[in-house]
Symmetry: C2
Subunit: 360 residues, 2 copies
């Protein structure tokens, strides 16, 4: 293995090294068939095999029930901000949204183009440092769905308890899908951009309960109807082949590792190492409230913006990359998704201790 | 170089071998920086450099004027079938479409959701075996734009003369962009899926004259407004990084080769070899009318469907892959995009001559 930096990027994010090596091989010559993976017709037997295997593995790992469709779409979560209300919300109807950060705000903005939006909770006045507990909000009467973001990458918060309102849940799970066990059957729609826990940018996975496919108004364009993609196995048009292929490799890696129970345990341990380091110090201060702390994105501040800049500069110099907080919140952020190695977290903790000693 | 099959796929299609080798290297370790290309934040200096270089090269090779924006989007040409009318056509307004095949039909269907669609020409009653000459149609009075597909992959037809109607031209150039010299300034919008002449699936290039960015109605969702992407350098959300990177490699390859004038000459020679083989025989019959023949997709029939099936079977056995015609038209199709090697065409011609001798 060549020298690899520790990549704390919030996404696109670090991937398992063995996945990169396999992708490099198949890009040039897929399964020794004399054709590169990215040159293959999406309707070839070989590529359909790749896509089918990817879907099967996702179903197996997440325990996706048979009455849910799995779609591999393009356009990122940002396109889902539109597709969800375009398919499920109409003038005169309502949907409930929980505003827990930048991504839910963007989703709320788009939903307002289609119907009534009831924002049942917002943590904006505390710089989104927490998500609500189940008893802190209610879904609007007759809400078509309740929309929330399970993990807020920018603020380092995460729902520890999912909503229980009797309304169909629509969840943007972009930054924590596959990181912990969930019960898919308690959701109406789960969607997630691939570029954090699943693979390269360019593919959005949508898991949708099949009765929701038939709620779309007639005037919705073909490409933006979930049913179009459900009916064609995500091959209505050319799909993002390379991303789907690589997601399949990541899922294989995850299965070999022991699946979601194993990775959840590893993720909790990695996060705990960092949170302990923060708690054991008066120098570092976590941004997220205890009951909302994310196991994927750990956000923290140093005593001054100058020290934060110095910290990031010195960390980068010793190969800890991507620790700068999102421009909308500042500070530092360590994104430690599934594929981020534990030893990188341990080394960052050592670095933090040494930096504090040298600068406090 | 390992044994490579001859990949006549209509898309995703064959790519230059040196591009595959470079991509394989960078996927594991980009520029020896200890991070794989597909793990890099899209907002990192390195990736922004990749995206900027790609845009610059495209501008240089195609001679794109400064008053045009270049966007790298997701969702394929099929999403452009919607975005074009969503941004430019409103109730009570009209647009003119030329119906020259499956893809224009699909675009027409979507446009009808937004405004009046005037189909000024259709070659459907001759199984789309030709495209119209400029004097065979007129744009509707006050048409917002005239929409056409420059090359019809499925039928093997191509516009030899572009429309000259005084209306803004919107062109789906998915299957012949970069294959021949064009004057970008005579178009309002050019769009093209990457997976034929530019790179892997997952990215759609849109070239749009900047005054058209301001025509979008207020109620169009953020992700579907051209201006959103123009204002953010196609980084409003995470772009399809790997596709953009690979397009950049293909453009570098094309520039080294001599640019579009050189590849156009090569493409015309390759196509001529196949058309000559068809013309010199009573066994093979070309589908496209002479004045509409494509230099990218050569479509032809054999005396019977049984012989066509046998031809494709025997061709596949000797490593000519992807020669089966599209399911909507049948017969055979040889897609010979920019990266398809001349020697593959020569060998196919030899194979065709031998097959005819053995079976006529």
């Amino acid at each position: 293995m060549p020298d690899r930096i520790y990549n704390f990027s919030a996404g696109p994010a670090t991937l398992p090294y063995e996945v990169l090596l396999q992708a490099a091989k198949d890009i040039v010559n897929f399964n020794d068939k004399g054709i590169g993976l990215i040159e293959m017709s999406h309707r070839s037997k070989d590529f359909i095999g790749v896509a089918d295997a990817c879907e099967s593995l996702l179903r197996e790992l997440m325990g996706i029930p048979d009455n849910y469709k799995v779609l591999f779409l393009q356009g990122g979560a940002s396109t889902q901000f539109v597709m969800v209300p375009m398919n499920l919300l109409q003038p005169g109807k309502s949907a409930t949204y929980l505003n827990t950060g930048t991504w839910s705000k963007k989703a709320i903005k788009e939903a307002k183009l289609f119907g009534n939006v009831d924002v049942a909770y917002s943590s904006e006045d505390t710089v989104f440092n927490h998500v609500p507990l189940p008893d802190e909000y209610e879904a609007a009467a007759n809400a078509e769905y309740l929309y929330f973001v399970s993990n807020n990458t920018i603020y380092g918060t995460q729902f520890h308890q999912f909503p229980e309102t009797g309304t169909d849940l629509v969840c943007d799970m972009s930054s924590d899908i596959l990181s912990r066990e969930i019960d898919v059957s308690s959701f109406g729609i789960i969607f997630a951009g691939a570029q954090k826990n699943m693979g390269p940018a360019g593919c959005t996975v949508v898991i949708i309960r099949d009765d929701l496919l038939n709620k779309t108004p007639d005037n919705v364009p073909t490409m933006f109807r979930y049913k179009t993609h459900a009916d064609t196995g995500s091959m209505f048009n050319t799909p993002p082949c390379f991303s789907i292929y690589t997601i399949g490799l990541v899922l294989k890696w995850l299965k070999k590792l022991g699946g979601i129970p194993t990775i959840e345990k590893m993720n909790r341990e990695k996060a705990e190492l960092l949170y302990q380091a923060i708690e054991n110090s008066d120098f570092y201060k976590g941004h997220a409230r205890f009951d909302s702390r994310s196991i994927m994105n750990i956000t923290f501040n140093l005593p001054t913006p100058e020290l934060e800049a110095q910290f990031i500069r010195e960390a980068t110099a010793v190969s800890f990359d991507g620790l700068k907080g999102h421009r909308s919140v500042g500070g530092c952020r360590a994104s430690i998704y599934n594929a981020f190695p534990r030893e990188g977290v341990e080394k960052l903790v050592d670095f933090m201790v040494a930096f504090e000693k040298a600068n406090s």
